[in-house]
């Protein structure tokens, strides 16, 4: 009796151990495949081209920085500046407009609210390839092609549906009792919006900013159609050109890529928990 119990216990223990080992094995394999391209990019960025050709998969020691200096000699700074202007412009504008809209949708009474929210949410899936032709035709007529403002408007529109959806879901969680007592205290609607709802929703606003910043910063299709002149190219458009330009020197390209992802990786790592939580609340009802 005692012996039998002992054996099943040991078998269970072994099975458990094997199971855990298998789980770790699967995850480690997945993580290796995820990290491999990143590893390749990082080690190559710190190499000379000769080293790249001779020892393609081992890191160079000591690291070489010539790739970075060469990358910066191009128009890199211009592209980064453009990306910063376009991204911050559209993200701030969209977050502002979306919070106004979301406040009305979450807390102000009016007819057809649900229908309006539904229609806005459905815009999330409209492909950029569908809207870009009419926008381009219209923008060329009124001089908004090759114009930062023109691009900012389009980006603002593209990220508004998600922002409205995310913020509305969050604003709904602000308790009505707080608003009620503020009304009794004589607050105007705008004061309630500004002082109560916005202040209580800082995590949601933050998530919204991060998600949209990553989206706009990484966007290529719209940027390459609306901002074609050399002075206005964003980083992503620049990188697509960069590749053909430095085709013979792969470490320079990798150095450029590394610089371009750095801001987003830092943003991701610093806001990771808020970001994931925010995404989850945003999609929970989806």
């Amino acid at each position: 009796m005692y012996k039998k119990k002992g054996i099943t216990y040991i078998i269970d223990k072994i099975r458990n151990l094997l199971g855990r080992g298998l789980k770790h094995f699967i995850l480690i394999m997945i993580c290796i495949s995820i990290l491999f391209p990143i590893y390749f990019m990082v080690i190559t960025a710190f190499k000379t081209h000769d080293h790249y050709l001779n020892k393609i998969w081992s890191p160079a020691w000591p690291p070489v920085f010539s790739g970075f200096t060469k990358a910066f000699k191009g128009q890199f700074i211009t592209w980064i500046t453009n990306s910063i202007i376009i991204t911050s412009g559209s993200v701030l504008l969209a977050t502002f407009l979306a919070s106004l809209l979301a406040f009305a949708l979450a807390k102000l009474p009016f007819k057809g609210k649900e229908g309006l929210l539904g229609s806005i949410v459905s815009l999330m899936v409209v492909p950029p390839a569908v809207i870009i032709i009419p926008i381009f035709v219209l923008w060329s007529k009124i001089g908004l092609v090759n114009n930062r403002f023109g691009a900012i408007i389009v980006y603002t529109g593209m990220i508004l549906p998600f922002s409205v959806y995310l913020l509305t879901n969050f604003f709904k969680t602000v308790p009505d009792e707080i608003i009620e007592s503020a009304v009794i205290d004589g607050c105007t609607t705008f004061q309630i919006f500004r002082i109560i709802v916005l202040r209580l929703s800082i995590p949601a606003l933050f998530t919204n900013v991060i998600v949209n910043t990553i989206w706009v910063w990484n966007e290529l299709f719209i940027a390459m159609i609306l901002l074609q002149s050399n002075k206005l190219k964003t980083l992503m458009v620049g990188l697509a050109v960069f590749k053909t330009h430095y085709n013979v020197n792969i470490p320079v390209i990798m150095a450029g890529l590394l610089i371009s992802i750095l801001p987003m990786v830092v943003l991701y790592l610093s806001g990771q928990n808020v970001l994931i939580k925010g995404l989850i609340t945003g999609y929970k009802k989806g």
């Binding site: 393609i56 407009l97 409209v126 390839a129 609607t189 309630i192 299709f221 590749k243």
Partner: protein, 300 residues
């Protein structure tokens, strides 16, 4: 009734709040969608003396006799049939393992989600060099005597599209894992405990509890990824191939639209295919909403 309950009942300033945002969305979406449909029925004037002429469905008829368009459509559908199922399978396995909170699960989670924040153009360029004929992947494969696997990943028209799909899966996986993990953590833990006491092993839990519980979010994810495969793959193709090459082996709808609108100046083809893209995505969304409605009835 609900309106009356709102503490801000009777305030009619909502127009101030909704109008500015709506103006931007109407311009970017509503105007564009109406205009693109209108343009697809028109032969756009190419010279100053010409005028736009209404041509009915001619653009659509021409479109379906275009081999590159048919190719593009086929490639989008191929991606749609292959990528979402693989993503769902991998996401279920990974999120179920992570849900067990094995040692270091937070680190694994961060790593799995990392590709999601990287820009597609960046990812695309890196993978282009990995997939090169004499690139790092083939160097490694040769050095471990797997020469037969050392293919011309992006140069061979038969496999270029599949190589791109690998990159898409690499990039999109994190999103699914996070979504599923979120859903799992909102399930009542007692369900799992009860099943475990009844002697259900890991696979049985996965089969009879985890997957049924995830059903709604799996459907959502499949729809989102299906739409992505139809209308958000331009960046991969543009960066990783030389204009949809080799030949037309990696043509996709967005690329076809871009090429015709902004390179060949064939607005009729471009707008007609844009309308088709819009119709297909809307159909998918509609289908999903119907499915959800039915599900709500089942569960409520």
């Amino acid at each position: 009734m609900r309106l009356r309950k709102s503490p801000l009942y009777g305030k009619s300033e909502y127009l101030w709040y909704i109008t500015p945002g709506l103006i931007v969305m109407v311009l970017v979406f509503v105007y564009s969608i109406i205009r693109v449909i209108q343009l697809s029925f028109i032969r756009v004037a190419k010279t100053v003396t010409e005028v736009d002429t209404f041509v009915g469905l001619t653009n659509y008829k021409l479109l379906f006799s275009e081999q590159p368009f048919i190719d593009a459509l086929k490639h989008n559908v191929t991606m749609l049939l292959i990528v979402p199922p693989i993503l769902v399978l991998l996401s279920i396995i990974i999120s179920a393992i992570l849900y067990d909170e094995i040692k270091g699960w937070k680190i694994y989670r961060s790593l799995v989600f990392l590709p999601y924040v990287l820009a597609i153009p960046v990812v695309g360029v890196v993978f282009t060099y990995i997939f090169m004929k004499y690139g790092i992947l083939n160097t490694i494969l040769t050095s471990i005597n797997l020469d037969f696997l050392a293919l011309d990943w992006l140069g061979n028209p038969k496999i270029a599209l599949y190589s791109i799909m690998i990159v898409i899966i690499w990039k999109e996986l994190g999103f699914g894992v996070i979504l599923f993990l979120a859903r799992l953590s909102s399930i009542d833990i007692e369900i799992f405990e009860a099943a475990r006491i009844d002697g259900a092993g890991w696979w049985k839990l996965l089969r009879y509890i985890t997957i049924p519980q995830l059903r709604g979010i799996i459907e959502f994810y499949v729809v989102i990824e299906a739409i992505t495969m139809l209308s958000w793959v331009f960046n991969y193709v543009f960066v990783m191939t030389a204009w949809g090459g080799p030949g037309t082996s990696t043509y996709i709808l967005e690329f076809y639209i871009w090429l015709n609108a902004f390179r060949y100046n064939r607005m009729g083809y471009a707008t007609a295919s844009a309308v088709i893209l819009l119709v297909v995505t809307s159909a998918l969304i509609f289908l999903w909403l119907r499915l959800r409605k039915r599900m709500d009835y089942e569960y409520v």
